[in-house]
């Protein structure tokens, strides 16, 4: 009985010291999430992208792709790859600037 149960030892000792320090990015990420700012930023970005028609453009790309490939042969991964290059490139400058401004002010406010 005992030999069949093989559990790895509880990593008590390993939890206390990590291999590396959390990166600055990770720290800020945690702060963003915990403060709720990340969610607010995401909603803001989503809203702006809908307003400027970016989302509709992406949906059109997806529709065309699905029509070509066959509606049942499409995966989420396919669609992500279809949208990403065009999506990243077609963000309006004003939207990008607004979001970057907000992120920067958050960074400043967290007193790095």
């Amino acid at each position: 009985m005992r030999s069949s149960v093989k559990r790895p030892p509880t990593p008590d000792a390993e939890e206390e010291e990590q291999d590396r320090e959390p990166t600055l990015q990770e720290i800020i990420n945690i702060k963003l999430v915990e403060s709720g700012e990340k969610e607010r930023l995401k909603e803001l970005l989503r809203e702006r992208l809908v307003e400027c028609g970016w989302k509709d453009e992406m949906k059109t790309l997806c529709r065309a792709f699905a029509r070509k490939r066959g509606r049942n042969n499409v995966t989420v991964d396919d669609l992500v790859h279809v949208i990403t290059p065009k999506g990243r490139a077609s963000i309006p400058d004003s939207v990008k600037a607004e979001l970057l401004q907000r992120i920067r002010s958050f960074l400043a406010s967290t007193a790095l």
Binding site: G70, R71, V74, V76, R88, K96
Partner: protein
Amino acid sequence: MAAPNEDNLSSHSQLSSQFFGELLDSIIVDVASECHRIARLGLDRSLDDEEEELRLSAQARARVADPSSSGETTSKYVLDIFGQTHPPVANEIFDCMNCGRSIMAGRFAPHLEKCMGKGRKARLKATRSSTAAQNRYSRGNPLSNHSPSSNSNSMNRLSNGTSHVAGYEYSNGTIEEP
């Protein structure tokens, strides 16, 4: 202290861009997921509407044109456009308005033939009463001596009673003349 500020600024802007990129990627995945759902559930009516219809109608046409598969055995169970099957003989039962019997719908026409007098045997029993009526109306027609069978034959079937008809008519005419 300008240098550290500049460093901070550049790292800030770098970090900002990174976070922005992260947010954007997350939104892209959401949009892709939404479009994937719409595509797979067929919610976008214009997506393959016409293509699906064309494909389905081509399939149906092939199935109809192909006599081998849907030949003898499955002809009873062929579906109509509403997906219903119909038995080869209509099996609803109702009452005949002439004789009052319970008749199956698919056998109603032949029944009516017999019942209302198109058939040979029907004529027999029908004109038994109708010639009796005729005999009454024609003022003691001596032709009533004729057997009912010969009367009915002459009335109905030329093939059977042609001679009878001739005889009948002539005798009728003869007697009627004053």
